[in-house]
């Protein structure tokens, strides 16, 4: 993959980033890695949650992602690529989890699968839980009509907020391929009158 050309202290999209902390973490500084973990923890958790919609599993996977990152940060050749590298670890961890879940579902074919996705938040109330469930169900219905590559680039771009260059690094593909997937996914999103209507209702 091409080397990133950027200014000191910015990420692939030219935004100010924790490049100094990444360098220190890559040199073995544990506190620097803790700093990075605080900066990315919520974003990575949100990324995981949006793909599996289970709070407990998302917490476990997020834990695993940061442990893997901590173990591998010393081998990171280009500290400026920390963010896409971390997201790639996250994607792999999510895919591992989904594979295991599919395998488990074969063995529990005749038993009723436990719905452990989430329990209603006692503070925010049950209606909030139902709204959340409805939102992710509708969104996943839309995602089911996209190819796996289209789905992933769409999520990384519009849900996780990564730029094209970062997505290309995460998925280890070139930028024009990423854009092609995005064009197709956005075109399908535009044609999805159900989802557009749902988004308008939510806004109202």
């Amino acid at each position: 993959m091409r080397m990133a050309v950027m200014q000191e202290g910015t990420d692939l999209c030219g935004r100010v980033d924790k490049a100094a902390a990444v360098r220190r973490a890559a040199a073995g500084d544990r506190e620097a890695f803790e700093e990075l973990m605080d900066a990315y923890h919520r974003r990575i958790f949100a990324m995981v949650y949006s793909r599996i919609t289970s709070r407990m599993d998302a917490e476990d996977i997020t834990q695993e992602i940061f442990v893997r990152a901590f173990q591998g940060v010393r081998s990171l050749r280009d500290p400026e690529l920390f963010k896409p590298w971390l997201y790639r670890i996250a994607l792999n961890a999510i895919n591992d989890f989904l594979r295991k879940k599919r395998l488990r579902s074969i063995f529990t074919l005749f038993t009723r699968e436990r719905d452990d996705s989430e329990v209603p938040d006692p503070i925010r109330g049950g209606s909030d839980y139902l709204e959340r469930k409805e939102f992710w169900t509708r969104l996943n219905e839309f995602f089911s009509r996209l190819s796996p590559s289209e789905r992933e680039v769409f999520r990384l771009k519009f849900l996780d907020g990564l730029c094209i260059r970062e997505i290309a690094e995460v998925m280890e593909k070139n930028e024009s391929t990423i854009k092609t997937h995005l064009y197709r996914a956005v075109e399908k999103f535009r044609r999805e009158s159900d989802l557009s209507g749902f988004l308008k209702e939510e806004k109202a």
Partner: protein, 180 residues
């Protein structure tokens, strides 16, 4: 969304702008800014996608636990997972090999080719048995069968003595001649 577009308008251009605005040249970008139809398309699409991102963030719960990093020098928590994976992989591989072996044996036992082989073997066994029975009855080759006792049963002994005289008979004749 409006489908009543001007000749210079293109929804593909709007999508390209949404995906990466740097993909369009300045002239195309100027058109998007100035054309009311394209501007409305862009507003709808871009607004929808932004709204989606905001709603996804709103509908994501806050994480409760902060990740805990492994302590240096201690066994890392993912190692048992690796061992389990290795064990599972080995077990699965062994099960697959066994399944293939059993399947192969099962297939060969029920295949029509094996029935033919068995029928041929049975025919060969029968032929061999017939040969053994024939030999048991008379083990002599064909050339000797005509002079074998079984074949010459019923013919007088004197005829044989006449054709093939025994040695003792000649000696008797010689001794009588000498005495005389």
């Amino acid at each position: 969304m409006s489908e009543d577009r001007k000749p210079g308008c293109s929804i593909a251009r709007v999508i390209r702008y949404v995906v990466d605005e740097n993909d369009l040249d300045p002239e195309q970008r100027r058109h998007l800014r100035e054309c009311p139809v394209c501007r409305e398309e862009l507003k709808q699409l871009d607004g929808g996608l932004r709204r989606l991102g905001h709603m996804a963030a709103e509908h994501t719960p806050e994480p409760v636990r902060r990740p805990v990093l492994p302590v240096e020098g201690r066994e890392l928590p993912h190692r048992p997972v690796l061992l389990w994976r290795l064990a599972w992989g080995t077990g699965l591989g062994f099960a697959l090999v066994m399944l293939i072996a059993v399947w192969t044996v099962f297939q060969s036992s029920i295949s029509p080719v094996s029935y033919q082989d068995i029928a041929q073997e049975m025919a060969e066994d029968e032929m061999l048995l017939a040969e053994v029975l024939a030999l048991e009855e008379n083990p002599l080759p064909d050339a000797y069968r005509e002079i074998s006792p079984e074949e010459t049963a019923g013919i007088d002994e004197e005829i044989f003595d006449f054709i093939v005289p025994v040695e003792g008979w000649n000696m008797d004749q010689e001794s009588r001649t000498k005495e005389a």
